[in-house]
Symmetry: C2
Subunit: 437 residues, 2 copies
């Protein structure tokens, strides 16, 4: 998708005529050098062209040409003369701009649709969540709702004079990220749903690349960039919902695996003589620690799949459980301890395999963190091979339900930094308020 975008951009633009005739190899080098300069300014702060050249080893003429293209794409701006620390004569200082370039993350989950947008410099532009019964609605109605949410966001960004660099949709399931097809999303009841294609055909945002990714993976990215353990390069994120999702940051990068399916923690088998899971297998971890398991232990008469046909959202179920506990119901204390114990047991497997420094717990786990973390931590230490040598601790997430869509916007920004040519230069030039108004 980015390639075809690049292709359309190469078609008739002034700045692109130089790269049109050069070998693919050199176009790749130029793209990677654009990224190098953009990241350099983004990470090290504002500085002159000369300093960028000295620090990157690129020659000055090349830097000047690269900066010209980054300015045209709205990613870098000149902010006045730079003196301090510059090598050679002071020049105009360059700074990350990106205020005219937006990234949109969205999420469809069991009981809501969410949208979160930032500009490339990280300023939050949109952050909202609307209740929606995606499981009951089925893929068609859910994608209609998602398309509506995206159109709304695109219109708002347009009013702000922001050009959208990309859209990423978070879904709780196994995603083929190359095609944007949701292979399996058990808790939504989706199988083989071509989300990216449906949204593209609905014309939600013409010429804007749409990608689809796993919700917990994206939430892990958000935790890594903006959460309580931000910057921890080996981090596991777990979210307690009806099921249990996971995302893994390893060595500062999201662990994707060969197909983007990595981090599927919920169906790791922890007890071959345990109960049957919703997925049909026996003894999956989520049969021990999912919200459905907790509800079953505490209020068997109201367990998921049992009962009166009333759909209750997780918040409502949790509130009921907390009320019972406050009223002195000992079953709740016992059930919460049981969840903490199995959380620690499963986490020991994750620690043996990933050796993270931190396990960030989100979803309903975060709400009960005070009760379950001490139990889980003890069990983890007892059962992981490295024991306390691995110094891995549980912490509760504070990003709430917005984590996945925040992470979804984050990977759009990341893509812009990695390939600045993915920005359609015409849009930026015509829609930047600073240029025209």
């Amino acid at each position: 998708m980015q390639h075809s975008q690049g292709g359309s951009w190469n078609g008739g633009q002034k700045g692109s005529s130089r790269s049109a005739g050069i070998p693919a190899d050199q176009a790749t080098v130029r793209r990677s050098n654009l990224s190098l300069v953009l990241r350099h300014v983004s990470e090290r702060g504002s500085r002159s062209r000369s300093l960028v050249a000295a620090e990157t080893g690129l020659n000055k003429t090349t830097v000047t040409s690269l900066v010209g293209e980054l300015v045209a794409r709205g990613l870098i701006k000149e902010i006045g003369p730079q003196h301090a620390g510059a090598v050679g004569r002071p020049g105009l200082a360059l700074a990350l701009d990106g205020s005219g370039v937006g990234a949109l993350g969205t999420e469809v989950n069991v009981d809501y649709v969410a949208a979160f947008a930032t500009d490339v410099a990280g300023r939050v532009l949109i952050d909202r969540r609307v209740g929606f019964d995606a499981t009951g609605g089925g893929p068609e109605r859910s994608l209609d709702e998602l398309a509506r949410t995206i159109r709304e966001a695109v219109a708002e960004l347009d009013l702000l004079g922001v050009t959208l660099a990309g859209i990423t949709v978070a879904v709780p399931g196994l995603i083929d990220s190359a095609t944007g097809i949701v292979e399996v999303a058990p808790n939504l009841g989706w199988y083989g749903v071509p989300v990216a294609e449906v949204l593209a055909q609905a014309g939600v945002a013409p010429n804007v690349p749409i990608t689809v990714d796993n919700d917990a993976n994206l939430a892990a990215l958000a935790e890594f960039t903006a959460g309580v353990a931000a910057g921890t390069s080996d981090l596991v994120y777990l979210t307690g919902e009806v099921g249990v999702g996971g995302g893994v940051i390893a060595g500062g990068r999201l662990l994707g695996g060969a197909d983007g399916f990595a981090g599927e923690v919920g169906h790791v088998m922890v007890d071959p003589s345990g109960e049957r899971c919703g997925c049909g297998r026996i003894g999956c971890w989520e049969t021990k620690v999912g919200l459905a398991a907790l509800v079953r232990m505490v209020t068997p008469e109201r367990a998921y799949g049992v009962g009166d046909g009333v759909v209750r959202d997780p918040e409502e179920r949790l509130a009921e459980i907390e009320l019972r506990q406050a009223a002195g119901d000992r079953r709740v204390d016992a059930a919460v301890i049981e969840v903490g114990r199995w959380l620690g047991r499963g986490a020991a497997t994750l620690v043996n395999l990933f050796n993270p420094r931190v396990i960030v717990i989100g979803g309903y786990f975060a709400r009960l963190a005070g009760q379950i973390i001490p139990v889980a931590q003890t069990e983890l230490k007892r059962l992981s091979v490295a024991g306390s040598a691995s110094r891995c601790t549980f912490v509760a997430s504070d990003l709430g339900f917005g984590a996945a869509s925040r992470g979804a916007a984050g990977i759009v920004v990341e893509r812009v930094l990695s390939d600045p040519t993915s920005i359609d230069i015409r849009h930026v030039v015509t829609s930047r308020p600073g240029k025209e108004r």
Copy 2:
């Protein structure tokens, strides 16, 4: 260690006077550009300075200076005029040299010590394994034996005119790779053994950096670079020994985790109502699939820890099992199927978490591959969330017992490519036969 090497080299060398006075930041840039040029020539093949400059975007003067340093360090050589594909006038072509720079990998395991050395260009210089009872010998005698093996190898490399860039020791345990301390190696009975320090104090190879790493992690690297599934960027390596070891390649990189403890598959809990493991926990995966488990099922009277006090090496035990099977002992067939089944069950956890394309099985698993792979593959497909969508297959390793020491030498080479300044220039200049003899 590499930093102090860089420092000593900076002391009195001609080529280094330029970098001595420049800020640390620029020294870092130069190091990274040296690596860029070296890798470029190593991966793309021989080419002129002009072409390297055009392809990397570095300016020609910088490339000339970088190449000068790489030639002085014995890592690049000139091989005559380059015409084809060159940009501008043909110049002398550059090629990867590295024939004067060596990498030594060694391994201490339960019943042997191994050594494997290559030059930086990958030519194998040493490949040997000697039987040794490391568990019975304890850390002190084992490290004496290892020191002897290393001294021997160093002497041989010296005779070949090769300067050693580094030594890596593979040990089956949890290693603090920053300090080279073996924290826990259960099957060796080692706890808190400062391997790197002991070897350095024994003076096995003065001024050569010594690092220590987990054997299965290193074997995974060897599989990734030289095994049956070489180049598969998401790969899990499993080795069946008395216990079970694992190493994970994710996105083309070895998964280390926060402390280098990642990939500890053997003590992943797979059955909370299972047997007690040697580590003291219940239901570890190696209680189901380790060689000790197989032996217990087939010849309970000769199980590990039972019996006549005779130490049998794994080869001998396997030979006995195969003999019994050939003689029609049905217990063996059943036991091998049981191992295959549990191999698949545990592998399903690994596939859910890492989503590898291939699981390479080494050690005794490789020997029984024909019988256990079909069973394990069926079980894996049934139990992993993605099922056949993940297209993960088992393959038998063909690297044998040399995998870990081969991988150990490989990371020394990798370190040279990442930081060419880690080569002590004086050694190379005085010992390269081409220069002096």
